[in-house]
């Protein structure tokens, strides 16, 4: 203990703000240069990369969507060959789910959770860096395969036997399965970080009933990842085994079963949609109170609804398999459980409505996106209730009705809140405001374009149009609506274009934002915009759910952390009572090397099982390098 004597070591007590800032910057910032940029473990830097990369994948996936809409704009069109089309819709779905929607939500968590709980970095910052590199690797793998015309062509859920060894020749399905492994590793890593950050690094006093709803949402999301992702890991690995070394998991002639795949996939796949949706619930619950100037109504009910949705989501997967011929009694159970999810969903909607009712709305862009979300998501949720009805689903399963349902909930339910969140937190992330004018324009284009594009798909489904068809015949009555949909998708794309233009423009020349431009209540607004590398000069102490609204004169903070090494507070699980001054790792290149080694092994193992054996050695080396102590200040205690 002598080495750490409060009198002998540099502390943050009794020094001027400027001096404290300078000292903390020296300790927490990464030096300039490419290698240092790769080595950084700052959660904000990594999260911004993560978000930007995910948005690039949104653009790419959106362009694929436009390509599909071109091909479908008239009957028997020949713009795109059937083989390309199948690659395109598979890429679109896979890319949007695994490379855009899930990662972007996790990235938002990586950025916001540490700030909102008032700590200086995410737990396991090196794992965080590793996670980003794995995500990037998976994305590059998928898109390179598309460029080489060997992209997967079996749909985003890759049903066997079509994706199996017999009917899926080449390496297409393997690439799909291995891309899954990349992104799942990345997602699991983030999930662990979020759980531990929320459990152990909350600001003193932030007991569980003071945790911001967004943080709750991210926590539930992280647990969904932890329980759901092993299923898809198991599924994709066994698919590769079937294809590479001849195991018989999915071969009915040898005791395997085609439906086993579907059970495994949807046991993951259903929670997956809430992995995407629950963070959006958190965003809405954060943005909405700010713009109606009133604390969220029904905090407990909302948090309960989040948890209930999370638990229920593991009992719904069979609703994706209603027409596979499973025993009907069992299927009816899944109709009931799927319908029951309307209760927590309804609870959320009703709490928001009550908050608006009691508040005084200010119609700024983030709030517009929230309103667009409510209108759209409720519609999408209700079509979800429709397809949850087993007999109803026998008519619309695998038709454009389902395509309409899931775009309503994915785009309306998750992307709208996400765009609202970008408008809302952009000032925090960059220090600059986005444009109100362009924002309104992009909102209305996206909102109108979205409904014009996707509403008609409900009708298309009901009048018989199956999904995943690259073309349809002229005598079928779908041409008019399809053309309409395709044209509308251009309006939607224009809206996104305006949004991206606004982002690029505002980053350079937006108005300076200041700490708390919206007058919001949560901790991330207590620090500068953009936050310094160390987040908070002094870790805040929390006495209420809306600290910045309730602490009108001065923010209560802690003192006594060291300034010469990266230190943060570890607090107890329930009541957030300080337990230790934990030091956290400095920058390191090892996570990057570990990601390279892991990538090499994973890609090698598409081609030969021996890659797992020889690939294990570089991996072991990099991991040992990662964990071996270097004798830095941070490691002493």
């Amino acid at each position: 203990m002598t080495k750490d004597d409060p009198i002998l070591t540099p502390r943050d007590t009794d020094i001027a703000d400027a001096e404290l800032h300078a000292r903390l910057m020296r300790t927490w910032t990464s030096p300039p240069g490419l290698w240092a940029a790769i080595a950084t473990v700052d959660h904000k830097v990594i999260a911004r990369r993560y978000i930007a990369t995910a948005f690039v994948f949104l653009i790419l996936g959106g362009i694929l969507a436009l390509a599909m809409r071109l091909q479908l704009s008239r009957p028997e069109a020949r713009y795109i060959s059937p083989d390309r089309y199948n690659q395109i819709f598979t890429m679109h779905g896979t890319n949007m789910m695994f490379l855009f929607a899930v990662p972007v939500m996790e990235a938002m968590a990586v950025y916001l959770v540490p700030l909102m709980v008032g700590t200086r970095n995410i737990a396991f910052p090196r794992l965080n860096a590793f996670s980003y590199w794995m995500f990037l690797g998976g994305g590059l793998l998928l898109w390179l395969s598309f460029a080489l015309d060997t992209a997967p062509d079996v749909g985003w859920f890759a049903y066997v036997p079509l994706s199996g060894p017999e009917y899926g020749p080449g390496k297409r399905a393997d690439l799909w399965a291995q891309m899954i492994t990349f992104t799942e590793i990345a997602a699991l890593a983030v999930a662990v970080e979020i759980v531990v950050t929320v459990f152990k690094q909350r600001a003193p006093g932030m007991s569980l009933d003071r945790v911001p709803v967004l943080v709750w949402a991210m926590l539930v999301m992280a647990f969904l990842v932890i329980f759901a992702m092993p299923a898809i890991m198991f599924a994709s690995s066994t698919l590769i085994l079937d294809r590479l070394v001849g195991t018989q998991f999915y071969n009915p002639a040898k005791g395997g079963d085609a439906l086993l795949w579907q059970h495994l996939f949807w046991f993951f796949g259903h929670p997956e949609v809430y992995i995407i949706f629950l963070p959006a619930v958190g965003m809405v619950s954060t943005i909405l109170p700010t713009f109606v100037r009133r604390p969220l109504f029904g905090y407990m009910l909302l948090v309960g609804a989040l948890i209930a949705t999370g638990i229920l989501s593991f009992g719904l997967w069979v609703h994706h398999m209603f027409v596979t011929g499973l025993p009907r009694v069992g299927e009816s159970f899944f109709t009931a459980s799927s319908m029951a999810i309307a209760l927590p969903a309804g609870a959320q909607i009703f709490c928001w409505l009550a908050t608006i009712w009691a508040g005084k709305p200010v119609f700024r862009v983030p709030f517009l996106f929230v309103l667009g979300f409510i209108v759209t998501f409720v519609l999408g949720g209700l079509t979800g209730v429709m397809v949850a009805s087993l007999p109803f689903d026998t008519q619309v399963h695998d038709t454009y009705f389902v395509v309409a349902h899931f775009h309503y909930v994915l785009v309306g339910g998750a992307v709208f809140p996400l765009l609202g969140a970008v408008y809302y937190w952009f000032p925090k992330m960059t220090g600059r405001m986005m444009s109100e004018r362009l924002g309104k324009l992009s909102f209305w284009l996206i909102f109108a374009g979205f409904h014009l594009t996707f509403f008609p798909m409900h009708i298309l489904g009901l009048i018989g149009m199956p999904r995943r068809i690259y073309t349809y015949q002229p005598e079928l009555p779908w041409a008019g609506l399809n053309l309409f949909v395709s044209l509308s998708s251009l309006v939607l794309a224009a809206g996104f274009l305006v949004f991206f233009i606004d982002v690029v423009r505002s980053r350079r020349s937006g108005l300076p934002a200041g700490r708390n431009p919206w007058g919001a209540s949560t901790l991330e607004w207590a620090t500068a915009s953009p936050p310094p590398a160390y987040n908070f000069a002094h870790i805040p102490v929390v006495f209420s759910r809306e600290p910045l609204w309730d602490e009108k004169d001065a923010l209560p903070v802690t003192s006594g952390l060291r300034t010469d090494r990266r230190e943060l507070l570890v607090t107890s699980l329930a009541a957030a009572i300080p337990q230790a001054r934990e030091s956290v790792p400095e920058d390191s290149l090892w996570p990057f090397f570990a990601a390279l080694a892991t990538s090499a092994m994973l890609i090698g193992s598409i081609f030969t099982p021996w890659a797992v054996v020889w690939g294990a050695f570089p991996m072991a080396v990099t991991l040992i390098g990662w964990f071996w102590p270097k004798g830095t200040k941070e490691e002493m205690s």
């Binding site: 195991t247 903070v557 802690t558 300080p578």
Partner: protein, 200 residues
Amino acid sequence: MKEQAVLDVSRLPLHGMGAASPTWWGTAAFMLIEGSGFALAVAVYFYLMSLAETWPIDAPAPDLAPGTWLTAILVASVVPNMLISRWAKRRQLRRVQIGLVIMTLLGIAPLAFRVYEFPALHVWWDDNAYGSITWTILGLHTTHILTDLVDTVVLTCLMFTRHADNPRRYGDVQDNAMYWNFVVLTWLPLYVCLYWVPRL
């Protein structure tokens, strides 16, 4: 915004032990992930069994000997493992060092039996779905033994260096011990599943 210091944290310890340490929670979270993985593998085993007309498919029940020996070793290894954990808590470096060497050996021994477990299944992974799932379960568990062994070896080396006498290291030793208990614990249902269920 003005700040007002209300809490002095300078006297807090520099590292929490057990549940006060983030690493402990990280290890627990990873155990949760892997535990779900094992649970899923067992579920798949029973699912395939429910579809098959006979179980095992085209194979006799596996020989008991190698797997049972391995189980015995694993169970026995829990004792020194718990002791290490206790020594680490009390920061008794010498004992921890000795314990880790023993645990390294106790990590290698089951692998020797594992080699004989695969042929004792009397089925190849590509024969049928029964072979596939049994090999997969065994393989999955073997990787866990292997990774924990590597972990133990590295930690053992570390504990003989200047970095050893440090609460953080003792925390690592405890987490490693916890993880080994997990590897042992998950094996028990797998053992029942692989060796006794086919005999039902």
